[in-house]
């Protein structure tokens, strides 16, 4: 429990500090200045302080993960609960649909969809931040929905309702599921959202210049490899963020 509070504390602190530094502008300088006492993290390609740039990227990364996390949790819990409650052939069919969706290769599929609304620039694909979050969320829920359906079904096999009419009342379904299941899902869904957006960014250069994330910074850095602070610092922040989220997911699972 202490580990959970510590992790949660670090995550909240990181978020609050990032939001503050996203709003509070530090002095800008010459573009691509390496880290020095005036600019501890250096400056970006437009001369902006890298502290502000990284803070904004952390906020946007968490925002993207949260949108995807909420969307995936709501969809998977709704679908999985219906499948688990109804049971029988309907559940089999619903689970089969989930398995089929899961067999579609997600990343090439997402990139193919992004080509519909994105603008190819020759070195990246400018794609709306919120639309991308929407399509990532809409394609990521089936895996979790299967878990929910199986949890409700396997925990209600011995119920009299299940034995007689093959389904169970909604309230019983939600009681079996409990609030913990939703909490268990949300952090892995956030991690899934961040990782998928990263993969889209690294392979297809997908990003929104209005909402730069840590991946956007890393993509920019990949064109300016000798300027190490453009890459190394966002990579460290990305690593820290993902480790915090992973520990958080593990600790929540232990409750």
């Amino acid at each position: 429990m202490i580990r959970l509070y510590i992790t949660l504390g670090i995550l909240i602190s990181l978020t609050v500090i990032s939001i503050f530094l996203d709003v509070y502008e530090l002095p800008a300088g010459r573009p691509l200045t390496p880290p020095n006492p005036h600019y501890p993290l250096g400056t970006y390609i437009n001369g902006q302080n890298m502290i502000n740039i990284n803070a904004e990227a952390i906020v946007n990364t968490l925002l993207f993960g949260s949108i995807v996390g909420i969307l995936e949790t709501v969809l998977s819990v709704s679908y999985g609960t219906v499948a688990g409650i109804l049971g029988g052939k309907i559940r089999t069919a619903m689970v089969r649909i989930i398995d089929s969706i899961n067999s579609i290769p997600r990343l090439p599929f997402l990139l193919s969809i992004a080509l519909f609304y994105g603008i190819p620039t020759g070195v990246s694909l400018k794609a709306n931040f919120f639309l991308t979050a929407l399509i990532v969320g809409l394609t990521g829920w089936p895996l979790y929905a299967r878990q929910i359906a199986e949890t409700i079904y396997s925990n209600s096999i011995n119920f009299s309702f299940r034995r007689i009419v093959n389904n169970i009342p909604i309230r019983v379904g939600f009681r079996i599921l409990g609030w913990k299941q939703e909490i268990h899902l949300i952090v892995p869904s956030i991690i899934d959202g961040i990782s998928t957006y990263t993969a889209m960014g690294v392979i297809g250069g997908v990003g929104d210049p209005n909402f730069p994330t840590l991946t956007t910074l890393l993509n920019t850095a990949s064109h300016l490899i000798p300027d190490w602070w453009l890459f190394l610092i966002p990579a460290i922040f990305r690593g820290i963020l993902l480790i915090i989220l992973q520990i958080l997911a593990e600790e929540i699972r232990r409750i």
């Binding site: 089929s100 067999s103 579609i104 290769p105 990343l107 090439p108 599929f109 990139l111 193919s112 969809i113 992004a114 080509l115 519909f116 994105g118 190819p120 620039t121 020759g122 070195v123 990246s124 694909l125 990782s195 990263t198 993969a199 690294v202 392979i203 297809g204 250069g205 997908v206 890393l218 850095a221 990949s222 490899i225 000798p226 190490w228 890459f231 990579a235 990305r238 690593g239 820290i240 993902l242 480790i243 992973q246």
Partner: protein
């Protein structure tokens, strides 16, 4: 089946797979020629269908020779001449004539790795417990029925993917009949950016993906088997593997790839970085390390996760519990997910390829997205799905043969 038989079979399959993958990279310069008497010069028919190695050597060149002049054209296309005359239209460039071997190579490596993993575990079990205690006495069901069941699942998933491609093509405004014809004749048309056939692009880039994936996957799975065997009994190794998952998450393959470029290319000048043209090996090292390093931890950890605690039953020796029961049961879980591991690594490789400019599927997809070439994106989606579904089918069948319990 004896562990030695499995290990020898594995080595044979892996060697064959890697030889085929290496052969599929073989490139040669060719000229495709068309000639006629006209005022418009036409390129040779079906010149797009050759396995042009565009990611390594660039697009093929076009030269038009008439009795009066020699014209060098930037893009291979129909070219109007000043007068009606004899002409020879030459399209020249590098091709990978054996590129079609790359998917076969990949599946041979997968099967070899699968069999090798089972063989390695069996070797350690028989070394500690002896041949008699390692034997299984499970009774299986009908292999034929099992195969049909798996094959129907394969067909259903393949149908769904075809449906998705048809939907995407229709949304792009391509007529349904042309899309269907293209899918069933394995001809997805030509790339709008490169101007050559999607099949050619996909196979030539898959050759590079196959060699890198083949080596890194086999190496990772084989070594993770050794790590796990020692990790189950050794607390320090176990602890390191347990923490490795965090390193794997924070240092994703592509992040590690960029770190390696800084370290081994820019600072130490040890390895070259870029698209390999002549000597492949020096270019292969950094992508290989960046895939191997995070994944050896992730795979070993996945294995150990299923062997968290060794039960303590009175009367049974610890070795019997560990090697027969714990490792036996964990092997079942790991073998059933080995094709997913391959697909997971393929995805990571696609990310790494873009970083190292390794001319594989990832680099091809990157160029396609950067230039809005949706046909290549769909082509990559189809080949990716085909690899995923076929890998599942192959591992299911081999698994059914090696462990008859699953056919019941």
């Amino acid at each position: 089946m004896k562990s030695s038989t499995l290990i020898y079979t594995s080595i044979l399959l892996l060697s064959l797979g890697l030889i085929l993958a290496y052969s599929s990279l073989d490139s040669e310069k060719i000229q495709v020629i068309n000639y006629n008497y006209s005022n418009i010069a036409f390129p040779p028919v079906n010149w797009q269908e050759y396995y042009w190695s565009v990611l390594v050597y660039g697009k093929p060149n076009a030269t038009i020779i008439t009795p009066n002049q020699t014209i060098f054209v930037n893009n291979v296309s129909v070219f109007p001449l000043n007068e009606t005359t004899k002409y020879v239209y030459i399209v020249s460039g590098y091709v990978q004539p054996y590129a079609y071997l790359s998917p076969i190579a990949l599946f041979l490596v997968l099967t070899g790795t699968f069999v090798g993993f089972k063989g390695t575990i069996l070797y350690f079990q028989s070394r500690v417990l002896g041949e008699e205690l390692t034997k299984g006495y499970a009774v299986g069901g009908s292999l034929y029925r099992y195969f049909l069941k798996r094959f129907s699942s394969f067909l259903f998933s393949a149908f769904l993917i075809i449906l998705v491609v048809i939907l995407l093509e229709t949304l792009h405004g391509r007529p349904l009949d042309k899309t269907l014809l293209g899918i069933f004749t394995f001809n997805l048309g030509n790339s709008s950016f490169f101007g050559i056939s999607i099949t050619s692009l996909v196979f030539t880039s898959l050759s590079y993906t196959s060699i890198l994936l083949g080596i890194s996957f086999a190496l990772t799975v084989y070594l993770s088997a050794f790590l796990v065997i020692y990790g189950i009994k050794n607390k320090i190794i176990r602890c390191i593997i347990d923490k490795w998952k965090y390193i794997g998450t924070a240092l994703a393959s592509w992040v590690f790839a960029i770190i390696l470029i800084y370290l081994l290319h820019f600072f130490l000048h040890v390895f070259p970085y870029g698209t390999p043209k002549d000597d492949l090996l020096p270019y292969l090292v950094m992508p290989l390390i960046s895939l191997f390093f995070p994944y050896i931890g992730i795979f070993s950890n996945r294995f150990l996760l299923n062997a968290k605690s060794v039960p303590n039953y009175k009367g049974l020796k610890q070795d019997i519990l560990i090697y027969r029961h714990v490792i036996g049961n964990v092997t079942v879980v790991v073998l059933s997910s080995i094709s997913s591991a391959l697909i997971e690594m393929l995805l990571a490789e696609m990310l790494v390829e873009g970083i190292f400019l390794w001319p594989g599927l990832g680099e091809l997809l990157k160029i396609a997205i950067f230039h809005g070439d949706y046909k290549i994106a769909e082509g990559v989606m189809i080949i990716y799905s085909t690899i995923a579904l076929t890998s599942n089918l192959i591992t299911d069948i081999v698994y059914g043969i090696l462990d008859p319990r699953v056919t019941r």
